[in-house]
Symmetry: C3
Subunit: 146 residues, 3 copies
């Protein structure tokens, strides 16, 4: 049993962005040499999430609308006032809503690996979801198996 870990470097370009990292994750699996096992895709950040779904631009627009409605940007978040008062608000970002969106999606997903391939069907894509961009980001991929 082997463990192979890599960081994927990303750069988001807008405030909220679904970044399709499926090919990057498969590349890590390829480099690991692991044929049977699983891949953990994990974000070491508090204003990002991981999800798996179909990469269809109109569907992503639907996802964004649902997430905006669950956690509206134009609400008042206590976190923003706290950071403002403490002068810890980085670059003047009010990102209370970003943290709240992140906890809906969760920090990781795990995908089984069979014969060296992620068990994703044709319409499944792995997204690193940015809720507080634009920023430089990274995602950890850890492949376990033999």
């Amino acid at each position: 049993m082997k463990i192979h870990r890599e960081r994927i470097d990303l750069e988001s370009h807008t405030a909220i962005e679904f970044m399709d990292i499926s090919e990057h994750v498969q590349d890590v699996v390829d480099r690991s040499g692991i044929r049977e096992g699983q891949a953990l895709i994990y974000v070491p950040h508090t204003t990002m999430g991981i999800t798996i779904n179909h990469n269809e631009p109109m569907l992503i627009q639907d996802f964004m609308r649902i997430l905006y409605r669950l956690v509206p940007v134009d609400d008042q978040y206590s976190h923003d006032l706290f950071e403002l008062r403490r002068e810890t608000m980085s670059d003047g970002r009010s990102n209370g809503h970003s943290h709240c969106k992140a906890i809906v999606l969760g920090n990781s997903e795990t995908v089984p690996v069979e014969k060296g391939k992620l068990m994703l069907t044709e319409r499944q894509n792995i997204f690193a979801v940015e809720f507080d961009g634009a920023r430089k980001r990274d995602v950890v991929v850890q492949v376990t198996g033999y």
Copy 2:
């Protein structure tokens, strides 16, 4: 350390359905021969989710109501218009809402295995949740351990 993987075949009978697969998953653990480790329960689909909770019919009705309210069926989803125009809408299904419900639940859960048994308490059941039925479906169960 051993990896044992099986697919569980399912068939949903309604549009939204909580399918209790706890016994099926335990059967896979039994057949794996693994006594200590963990079971990954993963859906290779974009309009299904996995969750663990109490299998009590009234509670499931509550879950459905919450999910309907978060992601109403009677909203307009851009994904549905896209598929309609591209003539890729399978069987005339408008399932934009199904994808959006799926990302709230997530694609997998992982449960520790102790002495050959899933560490589920009396009121915990594993559900494969259908959001775009009725359909034939499958779920991947991967047990890792020794």
Copy 3:
């Protein structure tokens, strides 16, 4: 490859409570002696969830507000009527909303372990989230690796 499992005993003091268990989880990793691998943090309960985010009191207040709005306490939940009629409602608790909040967060998170440390950045904390307190509770931590 080794598997090390422990239960962390907790006690919640209010109905809804974000309990920061990051140090407890790191202690389990330390005791496991595992340097490279991953930690599964899992709740064997149906009215609790696990999430990872920043432990900032105002932000936790924002999380609670979002969760209350998604799943209001003052709605009527069929589960509560069911348990009331069956006389299985423990201590007169109406906790339909607690179960519904739990399925939004999910039962577990998995965090990679590098050089004996959980791969958490400075602002990431692991929370066991109580939705039906005050109660005595436990959380399972399972570390796998070498």
